[in-house]
Structure formats: structure tokens, C-alpha cells
Amino acid sequence: MDFSVVIEYFPRLMQGALTTLELVLISGIIGSVLALPIGLARHSRRLWLRAIPYCYIFFFRGTPLLVQIFLVYYGLAQFEEVKNSSLWPYLREPYWCAIIAFSLNTAAYTAEILRGALAAVPKGEVEAAKTIGMRQVQLYRRIMLPRAFGMIMPAYGNEVILMLKGSALASTITLLDLTGMARTIIARTYTPIEIFLAAGGIYLVISMVIIMLFRQLERRQNRHLQPIAVRG
């Protein structure tokens, strides 16, 4: 094995890593914005309001991400209406297709995490809020959501790692993310082991940074639950 190729192509790999981070960040933001109403609807007591997000979540969690990407990238082109619409310049681009597929996918997983957290808010706190006369909106804004956000942090951190790993699938629709860039380099140098291992190393480092970041966030979100330090 000859690891000098890795040094030679390292700047290109970093360029790919940047695209990967961009994909994860943008679809993470869009996905969590989408997840909020979906998760809230999923937590609703009305059956019809609960049923729609249930089907959405079931579809996106029950099918491979690869199918979802292909559905957006190849599938939408089947319809003339889509091709004639003003959105076509975006929907033609693999970059935006990947963002759409990843956002919809992570929204489903995140909504389910949020539902679990909302259901786990201690009953006494909800009752206390109702007793002092909080209305539904106030209850959610002041009690339910802040409590849920504190609880979802570890699970959401895992979801971000899964998204990072899922983003490698962008390479299947010709995007030059970290995996895509590695495959392009290999096509030229034919050193699959060295370049793929280097790419794997970069993914590992990114995962570890994400894990540390979420540990910090969790501590911040739950700082009111920490024991108070007594100063002498």
C-alpha cells in the first residue's frame, strides 16, 4: 500500500468533506423545521391529525434512503408538469435533489424522536401548568417544548450521525461529496484501499466532533437539572 496518494489528494478529499458537511447542515436545518409541526401533529389527541404524520413517518422510516433519493432525482422527471414548472432548474440539480430527499428523511426520524420526548414530559409538570391556567399554546411554548428539547438531545445527536453517514448516498447521484470525491480519485489513481480508508478516517473525525458538540448542547439545555455547586 502506498499512502503518498492520500497526501497528494488530501485537499480534494477535504473539498469533498466540505460538501458533505454542507449537505448535512442544510438538510438538518430544513429537516428539523419540518419535524416540529409533524412531531406536534403526531402527538395530537385527534385521530385524523395523528394519522397523516404517521403515514409519512412510516413511509420514510420503512424504505431505504437510496430509494428516496432516486424517487426525487429520477422519479420526478417522469411528470411533464414538473419539467414545465418554474422549479425545474432546481429539481434537475443533483445537489437540490439530495437536499430534498435528506430533509424529508431526517424530518421523519426527528419528528418521531420529538413525539417520544413530548410523551415523556412528566405528567405532573403538565398538570401544574394547566392548574395555574396556562393555555394550550403557552403550555407548549413554556413547558412541553423546552422540556422535550432537553430530552431529545442525545437521540438527535445520533440522528445527525446517521444523517452524516446517509449523506454518502449523494455520491450515487453524481454529487462530489466525500464519498463521491473518493470514488472520482480512485477512478483516476486506482488505489481504492488507501483513498477509501482516508475518507473513512475523515468521516470518523467528523462523527466524533458531532458527538462532542451534542454533549455540550445537552449539558446547556439541561443546565437547570444540574446540582447547584455550593460555594464556601
Partner: protein, 229 residues
């Protein structure tokens, strides 16, 4: 069965390949998971380090990359090993074998954490009781730990299997004729990508639902004597 534009047979053949791949990977993954958990909990420092490194690395890199590394790397590694023994012919690792190894490794890494949790949930006194009546460690594992392990680990393993089922789609990237590639063939012939990828999605959904029902049944069966006097 179902037949869309005459491609029903092809999709069915792809479905069978997907199921075979999933089951073969499950088998390898369960073995690796048990080995990983045993190594992690053993007193041997080297075994513990190897197991920790294995789970950390595999869980931190994308499954697609694992598939690619195994598919392209296995040939190189196998050929260099073979040339040491004086065999210089070209050795090819097929996509199915590479897929089983890659997905098995992935499943094993996650499963070893599930098994570790399950082993730790079994009261230590039972092992000590086994030791006290003179059982060997292997016998303790076989007669005391194993039967309970299955029940404790099943919910976690069930979730992992659902993930594995979806990960099988990745092996189509290295050319395995599973549901995904059969769908791609159908799409290039009929030019109806949405229809066929939607059909593929529903095949995966059906497989997921069948697995969920089966896992639920197994869990019920496993817990049939729990909670009764």
C-alpha cells in the same frame, strides 16, 4: 403475483436476492456481535481494545463506504495473501459475498452493543452460582447466559434487522441484482422512474412490515413465561 408493465418477475427475483442477502448478513452479524460482546466483557485487554476499535470504526463510517471498501479492498487483500502462497491468478469477490461481509460487519458492530447490554442485565449471582456448582465458563455461557440473552437482546436486534433490511439497497451500488438494480433495469426500459421506484419503495415497506410482525411474534413467544407466577 403483482405484475407492473411485465416486470413483475424481475422485481420478484430481485426481492429474493434482497431477502437472501439480508438473512445471510444477519447470520454473520449475529456471530460477530456475540464475539464482539464477549471480547468487550472479557478480562483480556487486547480483546477488549480490538472489540472497542471495531465497533467505534464501523459505527462511525457510512455503510456505503464499508460496502465499497470491502468490495474493492477484498480483491486486493485476497490476491496479495494468495500471492504469498504462490497463487497469482486473478481472484474476484462477487457483490453478494462483499455485501454479506460489509453488512454483517455493520450489523455485528451494533449488535455487540445490544448483546453487551443484555449480558450485563443478567444478574451476576447466576454466573457465580454456576461457578459454585463447578460449571466451566463455557457451560455457564451455554446453559445460563445464552437462553436469557436471546430474550433480552431481541427487541434491540429486531430494530437492527429493520435497519439492515434497508441497508441491503446499498449493495446494488457495486452491482448486486437486488430490488434496486432490477428497478433500474425496468426504468431504463420503460422510462417510468417514479412508478418503478415507488413500486420498489412498497416492496421494501412490505418486507419491513412482515419483519415487524415476525419480530413482534417472537418477542411475545419469548416472554410467554415472564410475569406469571
Amino acid at each position: 403475483m403483482f405484475d407492473i408493465r411485465g416486470f413483475g418477475d424481475q422485481l420478484w427475483a430481485g426481492t429474493l436476492v434482497t431477502i437472501e442477502l439480508a438473512l445471510a448478513s444477519l447470520l454473520l452479524g449475529l456471530v460477530l456481535g456475540l464475539l464482539g460482546a464477549t471480547a468487550r466483557l472479557s478480562g483480556n485487554r487486547v480483546a477488549r481494545t480490538i472489540s472497542t476499535a471495531y465497533t467505534t470504526v464501523i459505527r462511525g463510517i457510512p455503510e456505503l463506504l464499508t460496502v465499497l471498501i470491502i468490495y474493492f479492498g477484498a480483491t486486493t487483500v485476497l490476491m496479495s495473501v494468495a500471492s504469498m502462497f504462490g497463487y497469482d491468478e486473478y481472484i474476484e469477490v462477487g457483490p453478494f459475498a462483499a455485501g454479506v461481509v460489509a453488512l454483517g460487519l455493520t450489523f455485528g458492530a451494533y449488535a455487540s452493543e445490544v448483546f453487551r447490554g443484555a449480558i450485563q442485565a443478567i444478574p451476576k449471582g447466576q454466573q457465580e452460582a454456576g461457578l459454585a456448582i463447578g460449571m466451566t465458563p463455557l457451560k455457564i455461557f451455554w446453559r445460563i447466559t445464552m437462553p436469557q440473552l436471546w430474550r433480552l437482546a431481541l427487541p434491540g436486534l429486531g430494530n437492527l434487522f429493520l435497519v439492515l433490511l434497508k441497508d441491503t439497497a446499498l449493495v446494488s451500488v457495486v452491482g448486486l441484482h437486488d430490488i434496486m438494480l432490477k428497478t433500474r433495469d425496468a426504468v431504463s426500459y420503460t422510462k417510468e422512474p417514479f412508478l418503478f421506484y415507488m413500486a420498489a419503495a412498497f416492496i421494501y415497506l412490505t418486507l419491513t412490515i412482515i419483519s415487524m410482525v415476525f419480530i413482534h411474534y417472537m418477542e411475545k413467544r419469548n416472554n410467554r413465561w415472564v410475569g406469571r407466577a
